[in-house]
Subunit: 384 residues, 2 copies
């Protein structure tokens, strides 16, 4: 192999591939990235056996070939080069000669034959997401994923497809977040065939974390295909391939209440501050924060106390419709819920001290206030 490419392209390619490589790769070859020439381009791949990622960059190919080299070493080398000079790469006998201006290195590699095969997309893409919508939704969904590993299906995000939308949901069984976004079909036929078989899949949290990292402000759309328990994402020039999670996601729709006896509209930042401050006064991490919704006075009282630390009380103004309520929450879950809101005010919807409460966004247009259900955060109170 003998090629020349720009430093900028090469650096960006290394950056976008090396991160899937875990710190403790089980096989030495998994610490390597694969460089190979393909159809006049340089293809760079990395995998941790769960997730594969590759991309192609423009290069002047003087001689075809392939090699694998340690990701960390090549990344350290190129990231410390002064900007400017092109990168010249030459591989022979499992050694990669790399040169940029006065900077030269011979990096010991491993045979490309040993590199695991990353599945290729057999057919065309099925549908696409808006890059902006997914960039906003993914970090919120990943916050609610279960980390304990006892129920593998809760370690992923559930995607339920309909004709032009997808409901994405994650839960750790203490709280649940559902976000709906639109999709655009890339192939009517392939999409129809897919949802006729199954309309519900579970994507591993790690895969979505990687997808999120690759999405940039410039990403317009993210094309997706699903084939034989593998999902393929195309984000700009980066392809991510991952297995799906086996198993059945819980039927969560039934736990989201349809009607609420108390509807509270309150400033996001104000509620966040008050609950955060209260959380410091609880006796331990899974402490208790008391929210008292006082309809007539149009205020919320947020309280916490503990034997060791003392007590705290904050009053904030709110618009409350319906009866008074006093509900006890784990502050951590309420804080995550408030943080998932991207409108200045939010709706806190409740029925009783013992039934799930819901947090939703609020759209305000002139005098009109509208609770929207694009995002639904469900949290169980602590029963007293």
């Amino acid at each position: 192999m003998k090629i020349i490419c720009t430093q900028e392209n090469f650096k960006k390619a290394i950056y976008n591939t090396e991160r899937v490589i875990g710190k403790q790769a089980t096989l030495p070859i998994l610490e390597n990235i694969l460089l190979e020439t393909e159809k006049g381009m340089l293809k760079i791949s990395a995998t941790n056996l769960e997730i594969g990622v590759f991309l192609k960059i423009g290069a002047k190919i003087e001689k075809e070939g392939k090699i694998t080299i340690p990701a960390k070493l090549v990344s350290s080398f190129v990231n410390n080069l002064p900007p400017g000079d092109n990168i010249q790469i030459e591989a022979s006998d499992q050694v990669l000669k790399i040169r940029s201006g006065g900077y030269k290195a011979n990096i010991k590699g491993l045979s490309a034959q040993e590199f695991p095969i990353i599945p290729e997309l057999g057919d065309e893409f099925m549908f696409s997401f808006s890059g902006e919508e997914l960039r906003e939704a993914l970090p919120k969904l990943l916050t609610c994923v279960s980390l304990d590993g006892t129920r593998p299906e809760l370690g992923g995000v559930n995607f339920v497809f309909s004709e032009d939308k997808v409901s994405m949901a994650s839960t750790d069984s203490f709280r649940l977040l559902e976000i709906k976004v639109g999709i655009k079909k890339e192939s009517d036929e392939r999409f129809a065939a897919f949802i006729s078989k199954t309309n519900s899949i579970i994507i591993p949290a790690n895969t979505l974390a990687e997808v999120f990292r690759v999405i940039s402000l410039e990403t317009k759309d993210i094309k997706v295909a699903i084939e034989e328990n593998q999902i393929f994402f195309q984000i700009d020039n980066v392809r991510i391939v991952s297995r799906l999670v086996n198993g059945k996601y819980p039927e969560y729709k039934q736990i989201i209440p349809k009607n609420f006896s108390t509807k509270t509209i309150v400033g996001k930042e104000e509620l966040l501050r008050a609950v955060k401050i209260a959380s410091f006064f609880t006796s331990n991490k899974s402490g208790e924060v008391d929210l008292k919704l006082i309809s007539k006075e149009g205020k919320i009282e947020i309280k916490a106390e503990s034997e060791e630390k003392g007590e705290n009380k904050t009053e904030i103004k709110a618009g409350i419709e319906g009866g008074d309520q006093e509900i006890i929450f784990n502050p951590r879950y309420i804080i995550d819920g408030i943080n998932s809101i991207s409108t200045p005010r939010l709706a806190l919807l409740a029925n009783s001290a013992a039934s799930p409460a819901v947090i939703r966004m609020v759209q305000e247009k002139e005098e009109e206030i509208k609770i929207v259900d694009r995002l639904t955060y469900v949290v169980m109170p602590i029963k007293n």
Copy 2:
């Protein structure tokens, strides 16, 4: 105690005192800060028994008194308040009532009687440093301090005073850094009495790290006094008190060579890049990087290699006076040395592959290049 103060003053005071409180305080009272009224001001103190810090802020005192409260809890409370409203504080029966706008808390405290006594300065200050000079010098000196604890004197920075200067030095016995800065006398008499007794002290690294954190861009000078093995720093409104390190600092002056057979002038960033890249190719953290100074060709060759990784070679241009040299260094120590330089070019001064090399700053004015000895970084080569 009953007082009112601005939120801004109180927040800043908590910020500047709470950091000396370690994570694992040996006594519960050490997790607390002491609030007390003193001469119409609010005084806030914290200590970890090694370092004490206190400051005074303006406050409206309605009732005198004192109390200690957990630093972390009060800090979490005030740092999450919305800006604006004043802070009202009232203490009675070991409980601190604190209030700002709609935010209220009762924080459980401990009796102020239990709080350790932080030594008070008996007399006036002796001399002062420039805030800017100390802010530049301290992080560099702290980098070279010994961390292993076997020789307590090397765990501090040595300050050797003369009439109008101080030489500050730190070493971990692999490399040594000396920086000279000017001092201004605050009291001729007190200063003369001090240096007639001893002109060399050792200040603990932790104390200087705390001093560095408190120095701001606005800090003009830092006043200092030394009394009975205690050192007092006054940085704006913050007072830091610390014990000095007992023991005798090594006579390091004798290891700094006076003359050099090879003098190299080279770009700081270029040398840094080349040594950094080379360090990735060494076989382990304490690897070996080979610097070849080639006088006639006016270049430095920087090389490293290892069985597992491969090899690296970089050539950079340099002005070299004197004979050729090939010296092997631990890249970590060379990198720290280069980083201590704040001029665009540096001088690398050497005598042989087996004797200490020196890194100094270079002052350039029109055509004239001058090696300055305000900062001296000494590094021992690795003998081959």
